[in-house]
């Protein structure tokens, strides 16, 4: 693996991905009804590629046991078998099929990442908008507490919490969701602060609308764009957080396959030019790019800019 071969392969990979995206968009347009098709036509190739990728990942995640040729934790062979049938991507250090682990990894990693991000967004957004809406002492108290949590380096905070509460999946989800929700809170609050000053919110308040109504019907719909952009990045940071935690010896329980730990497990091989750890790392990178391409497209549409 030299720099030059990377440079040669890169454009080819990009061209093929965009081509696949185009095919996927055209197929979708044929399959769906007219208004949706019209909407889809506005998708640039990058976004089409994003949608294709997300579809593939979700399929993998849902149908993992059907797609994967072997069992998730099944020990099949000696360590590090080469890339040849029946092990398309070879085997790992324990002799488990890498392709199988990758497919199950989609289920575990994407599932957990989605759960964490969703939790973080529900908690962070609601609390953020609520603080902005109420202001005063509530805003101050919540704001200080969030500040305290944000001021602790997130890795150290999770190290502390996971050591105290154990490393079960539930505590992992709750700890990372807590950390993420503070970032979401900050964003949601600042966006909401701008909105609550607007006249129509004043009007709704005077009408005597309930807080729940104000948050869900008046403020939230107008704050989706920045929140969606944040969602795209936060979602992917969860993988990295899990990976970093496994660097410090925490993370998901074995033998559960997850991409973050798969990168970590064989990471040292990269410094000898062995590309084994690049496969799960690539899986994370492609998903990150795909999600953000789609988010960019939606944001662009929402912004109302014509060009």
């Amino acid at each position: 693996m030299s720099l030059i071969s990377v440079l040669i392969w890169l454009p080819i990979v990009v061209a093929v991905s965009l081509g696949a995206g185009w095919l996927f968009r055209q197929t979708l347009i044929r399959l769906v009804n007219a208004p949706t098709a019209k909407f889809l036509r506005t998708a640039p190739l990058t976004a089409s590629f994003g949608m294709l990728t997300i579809t593939i990942y979700v399929t993998c995640a849902v149908f993992a046991p059907l797609i994967a040729p072997f069992g998730e934790s099944e020990i099949l062979s000696a360590s590090f078998e080469p890339w040849a049938a029946p092990y398309i991507l070879g085997t790992d250090n324990l002799g488990r099929d890498v392709f199988t682990r990758l497919v199950y990894g989609a289920r575990n990693t994407v599932g957990i990442a989605f759960l964490i991000t969703a939790l973080a967004f529900v908690a962070g957004t609601l609390l953020g908008i609520y603080s902005a809406l109420k202001g005063g002492i509530i805003d101050q108290v919540v704001g200080r507490l969030i500040d305290v949590l944000m001021a602790i380096p997130s890795l150290i905070f999770s190290l502390l919490m996971l050591t105290i509460f154990g490393t079960s999946v539930i505590s992992l989800v709750l700890v990372i969701a807590t950390i993420d929700s503070t970032r979401v809170f900050r964003l949601a609050r600042s966006v909401a602060l701008n909105i609550v000053q607007l006249d129509y919110i004043e009007a709704a308040k005077l009408r005597g609308e309930s807080t729940v109504y104000l948050i869900t019907r008046e403020i939230l719909p107008n704050a989706t764009a920045p929140l969606a952009a944040e969602f795209g990045l936060r979602f992917c940071f969860v993988f990295l957080m899990i990976s970093s935690l496994s660097f410090l010896g925490l993370g998901l329980q074995p033998p559960t396959a997850d991409w973050g730990s798969m990168v970590r497990d064989n990471a040292e091989l990269i410094s000898f030019g062995d590309i084994t750890p690049l496969i799960p790392a690539g899986a994370i990178a492609i998903l990150t790019i795909a999600v953000n391409f789609v988010v960019d497209w939606l944001l662009h549409r929402a912004s109302g800019l014509k060009d």
């Binding site: 934790s73 099944e74 020990i75 000696a78 360590s79 250090n93 324990l94 002799g95 190290l159 996971l162 050591t163 490393t167 410090l248 010896g249 925490l250 993370g251 998901l252 329980q253 074995p254 033998p255 064989n266 990471a267 040292e268 091989l269 410094s271 000898f272 062995d274």
Partner: protein, 554 residues
Amino acid sequence: MEDPRNPMYDIASEVADKETQIKADKLQTGFLSGNISRRGFMTGALALGVSMTGASTVVEQALAATPKAGGRLKIGITGGSTSDVLDPGQILDAFNINVLMGQTRGNMTRIRPDGQIEGDLCESFEPSNGGKTWKFNVRQGVEFHNGKSMTSEDIVDSIRHHMGEESTSAAKGIVSGIKSITADGKNTVIVELNEGNADIPVALSDYHLNICPSNGDGTIDWQSGVGAGGYVLEEYDPGVRAFTTKNPNYWNTGNEAYFDEVETLGIIDPTARMSALSTGAIDCINNVPPKTASRLKQMPNVKTLISTGNKQVTLPMHCDKEPFTDPNVRNAIKHIVNRQEWLDKVLFGYGELGNDNPIGPANIYRATTDELPQREYDPELAKSLLKKAGHDGLSIKFHAADTGFAGAVDAGSLMAESAKAAGINIEVVREPNDGYWSNVWMQKAFSACYWSGRPTEDWIFSLIYASDAGWNDTNWKNAGFDKLLLEARAETDTSKRRSMYVEMQQIVHNDGGLCLPLFQSELMGYRTSVGVPDVVGNDWELDGHRCSLRWWKT
């Protein structure tokens, strides 16, 4: 690229497949460390398919290797922490052992590369009163780095530092058998033991028991880092870096301490250690992950050093907790570990199979395979043992973290798979590395652990396996074993002693709560610009952590 400075030839480079390479490597290291004779090496090498020229080159080079003085040794080492202190009682890991025991201070005694005990700052020692009283003769003319002459007072106070109610030393258990240590004049130290112990000189070579200058009031001065070792501590940044220079007044100059300067760097990350070694930023490293050892060998100007001592992977089961109260269950667990698979996939061949017996390759009275047949992976037998214990299938939790031993979590996954055939369901619980020794080990009924092993049978048995042992991590109590332990300690007839120790090993193997699947080799790497002697100590990594004393710059 051939190094002009004549690096040691590697016979493994002549053979193709991985397995033979490992064998060839073991053979060469065995020969260079003196465990295999020249003739044994030649025959073995030829049998593996190595050329006559190749094998004789190694023999010639081994003879030609003679030390030279000068240069700077740069060590990249694990185990450093920003909380490290110079207090000998709180030496915790490799970084501090290497700097404090291996460079700046000495002990009363020390272990030679060939495994024998010899005098260090005490020149000689002799027992009397059935091994209950020991007389140590203080080496004459030794000066501390600050110019103070060493006397018996320094030695007495240094050992007393670890004794008594108020001592905060981790070595408290090691010196617990000492009733009193007193000075008899300036040149003699008398050690009185509670009971006879032929191995006390070995115990005194423990890495905590450094000799520091006495303050004259019963305390010692460890704060300054002054010692009587081969190198003077100049700079010390805990866990990060230590810098020492040659001690011009070292008592053994000429035979040891060849470097002008030694720089020790704490490098936690294995990739960082190997990159630094490969670029030549450092000269030697410890703790090479087995996964990458074969790749390290392909690096130009880098050699690997393998030593198999008593470092052992253990899976302690608590004999006082269900379901391990029944020896049949314990033995069933011992049979569901596929040891060969562990050796291949966790250690990548760098180790030896264990036989549920803590006495290892570096001990004298290790039971032979005739006396104690190797336990194998046998799920059917495990199943029938479980049935005998009245279990139909079993669900247990195995607690592991890589602090327990490197690769413990992976090994647990392997065990969980191989146990399925015996109807045993093992859930591997990955514990945080942080706090592993205080929260998991000795707390959970079944966990991962390692011991660096001890040079004598008595030491490791009384440390861990006696009923009242301080670190009885299996909570195993066996009266017959305890009785034999006391008898063997006082026995002076070697063959009688041997048969007692073999019997004890059989008891542990058959009844104990210890599953010991592997002995782990230490894997190290060094640049060919460093000269390494033929015989390398296997009591600790990096030549018994005395690489600064024994190695040289070519």
